[in-house]
Amino acid sequence: MTALLSIRDLSVAYRRDGVEVPALKGVSLDVLEGERLAIIGESGSGKSTLALALAGLLAMGTEIGGMIEWSASQSQTPRSFAPLSGLPAISPARGEIGSFADGSSPATLEISKSSDDGSISPLAGEMPGRAEGGVPERRPSAIGNTQAPLLGSDIGFVFQDPSSSLDPVMPIGKQIAEVAHTHLGPGWKGAYAKAKTLLERVRLPNPDATIHAYPHQLSGGQKQRVAIAAAIAAGPKLLIADEATSALDTIVQAEIVALIRRLVSEDGMTLIFISHDIALAASLADRIAVLRHGELIELGETSQIVNAPQQAYTRALLDAHLGLNAEPLLDRQDTSA
């Protein structure tokens, strides 16, 4: 399998009260085309930072180093959206994020440049790179031709909390149609037809009525189905699900995981599934990457990670899982008493 994404020496640091706090430290990783890759870790491991970095969603002022290479096939059909006016420090040739010369004018990242209304907020990302000095060829001069991934059309992103990722005052049909309209350009009529098809594909009941519903009228699981429909509306090659089932109860979680599995398989998407739950990750992923304190400490086939982890930390995560066949803590306490 070929790599869809090559991540090389990716470092990210946030500034907090003037202090630089590293979130990712030199992570290198290939995401293979068509695979389901789980990225697991505990709080502060950097798993969400990695997801946001891949999607170009890191906040302004974040320090980014290293490189992300997007090698989607060149044969994609031309798309009608306005080309990126500039991704942060992405080279025309290789699609690199990060490390452009200090003092260069900050690039602007525009997501889904819709001519209609800006309900998917156009995020302006100012990402000054590290002061490595002298890499002027990486300046985003001819960025319009770049193969850098575009959020929405190349990458679909599903967040943990659909209540905050969906617009509360816009009918859900429009939120989905807007993605199709922006990136595929079929006109609003076509976009709404696409939205209805997507509502059926994510198995929302009664799509004809639901298309006019507002997020607050839906349950948490239904909202997450809408968020998934919007994420895949423009046919992305890569779907990133960042703790997309963590706020849901176990039964709904299992349904959403089954939905993601089916959609990824039907559309031939590559999946990056970010989770704190090693058992959930193992139930879905072909490979598992384990992050700890911002470093990639282990990466392997799911069966290898689960049955023959190389790192003590990975084993500790496995041992800490409380499954339905684990020895109850109650017994351990009783025997030690």
Partner: protein
């Protein structure tokens, strides 16, 4: 003898103009030093029962006996005294505390309000409480927002045990914790239960966690009890459709060697 006896508890709300029962004729008892788990999908009534038991909301029907006294008719000083014996720990301790308060202040309040310790004695009591939940006494002067999530949940437990309760309601108390921290908190709860004979009403959507710590389980569905019994037996052989669905939905980690 039971610590808590709930009989025919019912709580109705209105949804879209129509009344519906969030909790519908629920009865159960918890014995001393027993852990009773409430499980069920979102909206099944678990947290509503917790809030009814704590008298944060009042039921439409039913009876709650706490330490063999009618808890719902109590008021004034009698209620306040009894409330000291019934404590709670929620999912998110950052939301439960004033984030700018120090740990010492959070632990001082119950000692003061319930007259547990005179002012001069409180610093010593606070240090002892911190030590009891596995925290360094030096943490007392730190602000709640400065400490880690696991430390915060230990502070919440310290506050809960400050008034020597016979029952603690734990509503998804370990759900937001990292797995490594979660195990330590569960061990702490079990240790406290053995030493102090505290009963727990343990609310969780996670059957794995329930199986690890609970004696008995009640599975709720749409406000009603779908099934109940020994926690391990029910989870191993669920009879109700919701019980079967909950067990089937648990991610299975299949390892060659455990």
């Amino acid at each position: 003898m039971s610590v808590l006896a709930v009989s025919n508890l019912t709580k109705r709300y209105h949804r879209g103009g129509k009344p519906f029962a969030a909790v519908d004729d629920v009865s159960f008892e918890i014995g001393p030093a027993e852990t009773l788990a409430l499980a069920g999908p979102s909206g099944s009534g678990k947290s509503t029962i917790a809030r009814l038991v704590l008298r944060l909301i009042e039921p439409d029907a039913g009876r709650i006996d706490f330490e063999d006294a009618d808890f719902l008719t109590m008021s004034g000083a009698a209620l306040r005294a009894r409330r000291a014996r019934l404590q709670m720990v929620f999912q998110d301790p950052l939301a439960a505390f004033n984030p700018r308060a120090t740990v010492a202040r959070v632990l001082n309040d119950p000692l003061r309000v319930h007259g547990i310790a005179p002012r001069a004695d409180r610093p010593r009591r606070i240090a002892a409480l911190l030590e009891r939940v596995g925290l360094d006494a030096g943490l007392a002067q730190r602000a709640i927002h400065e400490i880690s999530g696991g430390q915060r949940q230990r502070v919440a437990i310290a506050r809960a045990i400050a008034t020597r309760p016979s029952l603690i309601v734990l509503d998804e108390a370990v759900s937001a914790l990292d797995v490594s921290v979660r195990g330590q908190i569960l061990e702490l709860l079990l240790d406290l239960q053995r030493q102090e004979r505290i009963a727990y009403l343990f609310i969780s959507h996670d059957l794995g966690v329930i199986r690890a710590v609970a004696h008995r389980i009640f599975i709720l569905d749409a406000g009603r009890i779908a099934e109940s019994g020994d926690a391990r037996a029910v989870i191993a052989y669920p009879q109700s459709s919701v019980g079967k669905a909950l067990v089937a939905a648990m991610p299975k980690l299949v390892r060659d060697r455990p």
